[in-house]
Amino acid sequence: MSILLDASARVVVQGITGRQGTFHAQRMAEAGTAVVAGVTPGRAGAAVDGLPGVPVFNTMAEAVSDTGANAACIFVPPPFAADAILEDIAAGLELIVCITEGIPTIDMLRVMPVLRASSSRLIGPNCPGIAVPGANVKVGIMPWEIHAPGRVGVVSRSGTLTYEVVQHLTDSGLGQSAAVGIGGDPIIGTRFTDVLELYEQDDQTDGIVLLGEIGGGDEEQAARFISERVTKPVSAFIAGKTAPPERRMGHAGAIVSGSEGTAAGKETALREAGVCVGDTPREAVDLLAAQLR
């Protein structure tokens, strides 16, 4: 078993007829993911370039009833993405990965009560998704070729920074049990603590790399969780040490305000929880590697 995702995933790509949707549906299928359908309202019956035999439906309910799908990967534009999540929850999907960046926060706040009352797991939004190299399955946009099966779990608020660390893990021979990008927005479906708990219980994971960034208190919350509940070695890198205070750094979440949310504060909290904190992404990998050897 791996976390969140294994070979049983049957994935519907929402927005499959768009440029990004088609491209990444192809890449997912190439990686080994069972892409069983696409959904684009008004495009039912359309053919998907490079994916013959993958039907397109108008609604997620039809996709689920016709293909037995249990997971979705969302590429629809920001104004419609929260609605796509709600459609997936109503369709009873177990796993929803929302790639879309730029969803208004109020829309996500409207999603949260419905999500909490459901049994669906949402990853993201504004995230790269999940890759499980050992099971030949990815749901998301991460470049597949940088991954290698291994025993380190990666969890990250940032997309491309995840790739950076995955590449180092592969280069250093450690590989990944899974890599999960939880997304950088203020309101997300799955948080550091959720994924840390999954890794802690996963018998294919020996150590964890956590990638945080300035803003919010998620890393501090993760530090508390690690000190109380995580027995496996954890290393971390916090992006934004050189960012000026009180300036927004692109991510909605990356706002340094007052005493909370600084890189220094997060690093201290993590160190006090027994986490090895690297000055660079590579150093975080090296510190974990040293512990695992």
């Binding site: 890449r27 920001p78 104004p79 790639i99 960046e101 730029g102 969803i103 208004p104 926060t105 109020i106 706040l109 409207r110 949260m112 009560p113 790269p128 998301g140 946009i141 470049p143 070729e145 940088i146 990250s156 608020r157 940032s158 997309g159 491309t160 920074l161 790739y163 950076e164 590449q167 950088g184 203020p186 309101i187 997300i188 948080r191 990638l211 960034e213 300035i214 919010g216 208190g217 998620d218 919350q221 890198f237 992006a239 040490k241 050189t242 960012a243 000026p244 300036r247 927004r248 750094m249 692109g250 991510h251 909605a252 990356a254 305000s257 005493s259 000055d279 660079t280 992404p281 590579r282």
Partner: protein
């Protein structure tokens, strides 16, 4: 996006908040005229988006037109956190018996919208939150439902308000929550909400920050943007879909993804360099956006080398390579260009660069060291 106090006051007043009247003045004369119209004591406040106006001398009380003219003269033209004061807001001063804090924002920890209220208003609420968190009343609420009247009443009573004041407070709180939701705000705040000696409530300040992701569907709010309060290069970048923040170093950074962009700055610094900027070209950037990003970086005269660090996911390496090559064609000045390019469509991207004589790096650390060496 931050909204000027004058606009926030109007937005709050439209939703029933008891906001005193006010005028915006661009000259000392206009300020005096406004003070004359209101009569009595007025407050003259710098209309800037930056915080900390009071400490920076941007808020003055004035008794009568002449005093208001002098106050405006003293405030107009000063700089507050890098922002020049071009306008002041003139409003009748309100007698203060008590100051209450009332704000609506997003609680990331609890993943919810939240109302915060405190009887200790008028000072930095974050200090109160840090020192005496129990002094802050909180209501987490579902944005689809808003705050129920009984919740608002309970907070009003806990703030020590009387029966009639609590009714007013419920209306104020509901109006502020509506402003928050209807404007897609990340913060809607009245600090202080004043109780005057006659027991009336007054919103004498108004702060409203809008969720940038929602501006597309709120064109009426996008129009409230004050470009002049922004760095020109940052406004230019925003229009192109790029997040750019100018810093003081000499190594320009062009990166995809905010996290990697910050990490790139951190690594440059780690190897002894100084980043000239934060720049995230955004997800799925095509050649044009990459090209635009490079020109913005090079418009900064301090930049003596550019470090392109792209790890493609939804962004594709071949698109990036095309953008880099196009930008190099029209580069206003020649500076060393260090390119690190990996990820989606990597092979095609590297080939394009190699054909044009650019040897891309595979390691961020190695590339950062090259960039640092290039400016030594």
């Amino acid at each position: 996006m931050k909204v000027h106090e004058s606009d926030a006051r109007r937005i709050f007043a439209d939703r029933g908040l008891p906001v005193p009247p006010s005028r915006v003045a661009t000259t000392p004369d206009e300020s005096a005229t406004a003070a004359g119209e209101f009569g009595g004591l007025v407050v003259v406040k710098a209309l800037v988006l930056a915080g900390g106006r009071g400490k920076a001398g941007g808020v003055k009380l004035a008794d009568g037109p002449e005093a208001a003219r002098e106050a405006a003269e003293a405030i107009l033209g000063i700089e507050i956190r890098g922002e020049r004061v071009r306008r002041v807001l003139v409003a009748p001063a309100v007698d203060i018996d008590r100051e209450i804090y009332l704000g609506v924002t997003i609680d990331r920890e609890r993943q919810s919208a939240v109302v915060m209220a405190s009887a200790a208003g008028g000072i930095d609420i974050e200090e109160v939150a840090a020192d005496t968190p129990e002094a802050i009343q909180r209501i987490e609420f579902d944005v689809a439902r808003g705050v129920e009247a009984w919740q608002a009443r309970a907070v009003g009573f806990a703030l020590g308000l009387g029966g009639r004041q609590v009714l007013d407070f419920v209306g104020i709180l509901n109006g502020l929550v509506r402003a928050f939701v209807e404007c897609d705000a990340s913060l809607a705040e009245v600090n202080p909400l004043v109780v005057s000696p006659d027991g009336k409530l007054w919103a004498i300040d108004a702060k409203l920050n809008i969720d940038d992701n929602a501006l597309g569907r709120r064109p009426e709010l996008e129009q409230l943007r004050d470009d002049a309060a922004e760095e020109p290069a940052e406004a230019l970048a925003r229009a192109a879909g790029i997040s750019y923040i100018k810093l003081d170093g000499d190594i320009g950074c062009m990166v995809n993804g905010a996290g990697l962009a910050m990490a790139t700055m951190d690594v440059v610094k780690h190897y002894g360099g100084e980043p000239a900027n934060f720049l995230d070209v955004g997800g799925g950037a095509g050649a044009e956006r990459v090209s635009a990003a490079l020109s913005i970086i090079l418009d900064d005269p301090n930049v003596r080398a550019v470090f392109v660090n792209i790890f493609g996911g939804i962004t594709r390496a071949d698109d990036v390579a095309q953008g880099v090559l196009a930008a190099r064609e029209s580069m206003p000045r020649a500076v060393p260009l260090v390119v690190r390019l990996m990820g989606t469509n990597e092979a095609e991207g590297l080939r394009l660069l190699a054909d044009a004589g650019i040897q891309a790096e595979r390691s961020m650390d190695a590339a950062a060291r090259l960039a640092v060496e290039a400016v030594r």
